[in-house]
């Protein structure tokens, strides 16, 4: 792939966001496991942040796969722009709070009201962080590649 600029731009802004979060008074105490926020705070939350702190970006090799994740843009200015190699009927990031990729392919993820996460690969069990979800997907995939989401 000779056009990874979009991802790099996104990743850069995600890193900047993470820096801002770390500088804030309610920064994550443990950068390895972004804790799900206190469930009661969702009542005060609004928008699709739901009152929960956004987990940190991550980028690592896990069981031979490159997994990475970063908070999706809040404003939607990148609408439809991510993963242009995935042009299709459904934008894989539509309505998503957090982008997760395995070997540069998008994994659709979703945050639950209690701050836990699920993915399209493991849709009926919850994970405390997107990183844990990505690792579970790698184990489930057993080396297979993700394919673009088909929703008919």
């Amino acid at each position: 792939m000779s056009h990874p600029t979009r991802r790099q731009v996104l990743h850069g802004s995600a890193a900047a966001l993470a820096g801002a979060a770390l500088a804030a008074p309610v920064a994550f105490a443990d950068t390895a496991t972004a804790r799900p926020a206190d469930g009661h705070r969702r009542l005060a939350g609004h928008g699709h942040s739901g009152g929960h702190e956004m987990p940190e970006p991550f980028d690592e090799m896990y069981q031979g796969r490159h997994i990475e994740g970063w908070p999706a843009d809040e404003g939607g200015s990148e609408n439809g722009g991510h993963g242009d190699h995935h042009a299709g009927p459904a934008s894989p990031h539509e309505g998503m709070d957090f982008v997760v990729r395995i070997d540069n392919d998008d994994l659709h993820v979703m945050r639950n009201a209690d701050g836990t996460w699920i993915s399209l690969v493991n849709h009926y069990e919850t994970f405390t962080t997107p990183r844990a979800l990505a690792r579970a997907a790698v184990r489930e995939l057993q080396g297979a590649d993700l394919v673009p989401v088909v929703t008919g």
């Binding site: 469930g39 969702r42 699709h48 739901g50 459904a90 309505g95 659709h108 979703m110 945050r111 639950n112 009201a113 209690d114 399209l120 690969v121 493991n122 849709h123 009926y124 069990e125 919850t126 489930e140 995939l141 057993q142 297979a144 590649d145 993700l146 394919v147 989401v149 088909v150 929703t151 008919g152």
Partner: protein, 272 residues
């Protein structure tokens, strides 16, 4: 009255008719339309946005309508076919007749989880994974690996004892019968069974495994049992709830049916 039976009680002919009708829907492409629909709702249903098929009060009536539509499609092939249900509190091991070669076929093999026996085995060529989330084109299972135990009858009874159908905020964090049977709260019934089967059943494209229909048929039966136990407890909410299907709101994708239309299953079928 058409009767949906426990899969354990099906005759050899009933099993064959069911399997043959499923394979015929697959061959004509109609089966995959059901997978696409389910996958679209799995992705579109969110806790803080519009939600219809899952994580919401309409989880139960939506799947009731979805199963009815699938059952009618099967009956367009063979009119006598009814959906069977899988009581996973009773038939709770990979040795159940459910997983025999004359019905759904067995567990996936170690290594890659590929199902190599029964009518849906990859080698037969009749069961391609056209709507999928990853590159693998064969049906997979890993019975009892993702989670060791299926729910017990005692756990089901705990959930059936809940008197309130559903509660605000009408999503995966709700108290009440619906969210406890769906499994985001409590002993985890419906969700856990998807995980126990493994393979495609853990994904948004879970109807790729025909056991999807038998699992949801039992969930549907449990809803009927709950209604009989709590005749004064109705579907909730009943009006003016943003993003949520109220009692008299129409449901996507059909747009011509409401939860109220689907509360009484005896209009369509009975359970043995």
């Amino acid at each position: 009255m058409a009767v949906r039976k426990n899969q354990a009680d099906l005759t050899a002919t009933e099993k064959r008719n069911f399997v043959d009708a499923v394979l015929e829907l697959k061959r004509t492409g109609r089966y995959d339309e059901f997978i696409s629909t389910h996958n679209a709702f799995i992705i579109g249903d969110t806790d803080d946005g519009e939600r219809t098929g899952h994580r919401s009060p309409s989880f139960l009536p939506w799947h009731r309508r979805f199963l009815l539509q699938f059952e009618q499609a099967l009956q367009s092939i063979t009119p006598s076919v009814m959906l069977p249900y899988w009581d996973w509190t009773a038939d709770r091991t990979p040795r159940s007749s459910l997983w025999a070669d004359d019905f759904l076929g067995g567990d996936g093999r170690s290594g890659d989880g590929r199902v190599n026996s029964g009518p849906f085995a990859f080698g037969n060529g009749n069961w391609p994974m056209n709507i999928r989330v990853d590159g693998r084109t064969f049906l997979r299972r890993s019975l009892g690996t993702g989670v060791r135990e299926l729910p017990t009858r005692a756990e089901v009874d705990r959930v059936l004892a809940m008197t309130v159908y559903d509660a605000a905020p009408w999503n995966s964090s709700s108290d009440g019968f619906r969210n406890n049977i769906e499994g985001w709260r409590g002993p985890n019934l419906h969700n856990r069974v998807h995980v126990w089967v493994g393979g495609q059943m853990t994904t948004g494209a879970s109807p790729n495994d025909p056991v999807f229909w038998l699992h949801h048929c039992f969930i549907d039966k449990l809803w009927a049992e709950w209604q009989r136990m709590h005749p004064k407890s109705g579907y909730l909410p009943t009006g003016n709830t943003p993003d949520v299907v109220d009692l008299h709101d129409t449901m996507k994708p059909w747009n011509d049916v409401t939860p109220a239309d689907l509360l009484d299953h005896t209009k369509f079928y009975d359970y043995a």
